[in-house]
């Protein structure tokens, strides 16, 4: 039987989703239009976050991006109100 709990990939996807919703105004999953749901929106938001932190703008949840997302921080978003 699969080990309970998410696979690393699913876990990372959740970390990215959660972080971008909180700090980069990615619309929460249940509130996204078809366009917003497209992976390109997530890629754009990821690049926006990577640009803010001076990371390589890969648009992918690479190691250094995931590391940055797990650092303790302020709850105020990095962009927008």
């Amino acid at each position: 039987f699969p080990v309970p709990g998410a696979s690393p990939k699913e876990k990372n996807t959740r970390i990215v989703q959660d972080y971008l919703e909180k700090f980069y105004q990615l619309p929460p999953k249940g509130f996204r239009s078809a366009r917003q749901n497209s992976s390109s929106v997530i890629v754009e938001k990821l690049k926006e976050m990577q640009r803010f932190f001076g990371l390589n703008e890969t648009g992918k949840p690479d190691r250094e991006t995931l590391e940055m997302m797990q650092k303790p921080r302020c709850g105020v978003p990095d962009s927008g109100d």
Partner: protein
């Protein structure tokens, strides 16, 4: 720095604050002291004043709450989100909320309340997050010794953009974050560490990865909270898996993340005369340690644990072509790399001569 969208600001500069709810982890006295000092970070560099009230509604209301606390921005338990604050305005405007489930401290242990509060009050005054990794308004938590904390220039520029300069006859200034590819960049000290290379500058160091060549900027205090800023010399004694750091007459021994017991010690231990007050650079090679002081060099025999007779000598007599004052040096394979200003010299220990001269910041991938 960045201002909050819409550039909200307080019309009045004499603001009031009130601590509505305390954390149980610190005494009320400690909380009030941390909050007071956090406001002082901003009042020192602007015309803003902050007065604590205990009754009625304050401009900035401070509280420790957990989880969902009714402002549509729930906290997430230990770590993760530490706190948040609202932009200037009526009601919840200006208020600062701290996650009661965090461990709040007045020390270098996570998380120091003074530092987080000073950051949140930046939001309460109209600042957004800064992309400058050295700024107080950078989103991620980074420890700095509160007793020597100096508001970075980026944050001073931000708050003075909103509220104008301070009334001080001489405008206060703060540290600026070194940028890797600034052509004027010089290093304070360089040492290898278990295959990595550490480039020290002010309160920062860059870590260069041995294989990938990746370089990342960190605060010294992130790894070694009790170390001072402005390390002046450093070397790795790989045989013992130790790195020695020097500042003034003191030196520390690091084993990875840990500072060895009984440090700092004084450089007299090595047999320097009391006339030597500081070391410019140091490097260890084949059980000898080379110390560079102005235009002179001392050599320490690590086996006999004493300074070698016949020293100091002039640097040029041992390393022809390396004349002026050295900022930093490290050894790689059979060469010493001497850094002086924006230039470094590769000295081949076999050929006994300089074989290459390049710009220092090439080591930071510039």
């Amino acid at each position: 720095f960045m201002l909050t969208p819409g550039n909200p600001k307080w019309k009045q500069t004499n603001l009031t604050y009130r601590i509505i709810k305390y954390t149980t982890q610190l005494s009320e006295t400690d909380v009030e002291a941390a909050i007071k000092e956090a406001f002082q970070v901003w009042s020192d560099v602007s015309t803003l004043t902050f007065t604590k009230i205990s009754q009625g509604e304050a401009d900035i209301e401070i509280t420790f709450v957990q989880g969902d606390h009714g402002d549509n921005s729930p906290f997430d338990g230990p770590n993760g989100i530490l706190a948040h604050a609202f932009q200037p305005g009526q009601g919840i405007g200006g208020d600062a909320h701290f996650d009661a489930e965090e461990t709040w401290t007045t020390t270098s242990s996570n998380y120091n309340l003074f530092l987080v509060a000073a950051h949140e009050f930046g939001h309460s005054l109209g600042l957004a997050h800064s992309t400058d990794p050295g700024a107080l308004m950078y989103p991620n938590y980074a420890f700095h010794d509160p007793s020597t904390y100096n508001l970075p220039q980026d944050d001073i520029n931000g708050i003075q953009t909103i509220y104008g300069p301070s009334n001080n006859p001489v405008q206060p200034t703060g540290p600026t974050t070194p940028t890797a590819c600034d052509p004027r960049l010089t290093f304070d000290a360089i040492a290898t560490l278990r295959g990595e290379i550490l480039f020290f500058k002010d309160k920062y160091f860059w870590r260069r990865h041995p294989q990938l060549g990746m370089v990342e900027l960190n605060f010294i205090s992130l790894f070694w909270p009790s170390l001072p800023d402005g390390i002046q010399a450093a070397y790795e004694e790989a045989d013992k898996d130790l790195v020695f750091l020097f500042k003034g007459c003191q030196y520390w021994a690091l084993r990875g993340y840990d500072i060895e017991q009984g440090y700092p010690r004084v450089i007299l231990d090595y047999g320097f005369p009391s006339s030597v007050q500081a070391i410019d650079a140091a490097v260890y090679y084949r059980r000898k340690t080379y110390f560079f002081v102005k235009d002179q060099i001392w050599r320490y025999d690590n086996q006999r644990q004493s300074m070698e007779p016949g020293y100091p000598k002039s640097i040029a007599s041992l390393f022809p072509g390396i004349g002026s004052k050295i900022d930093a040096v490290f050894q790689q394979n059979h060469v010493f790399l001497f850094f002086s200003g924006q230039i470094y010299y590769t000295f081949d220990l076999g050929a006994h001569r300089v074989t290459r001269v390049r710009r220092s910041n090439r080591w930071l991938n510039c």
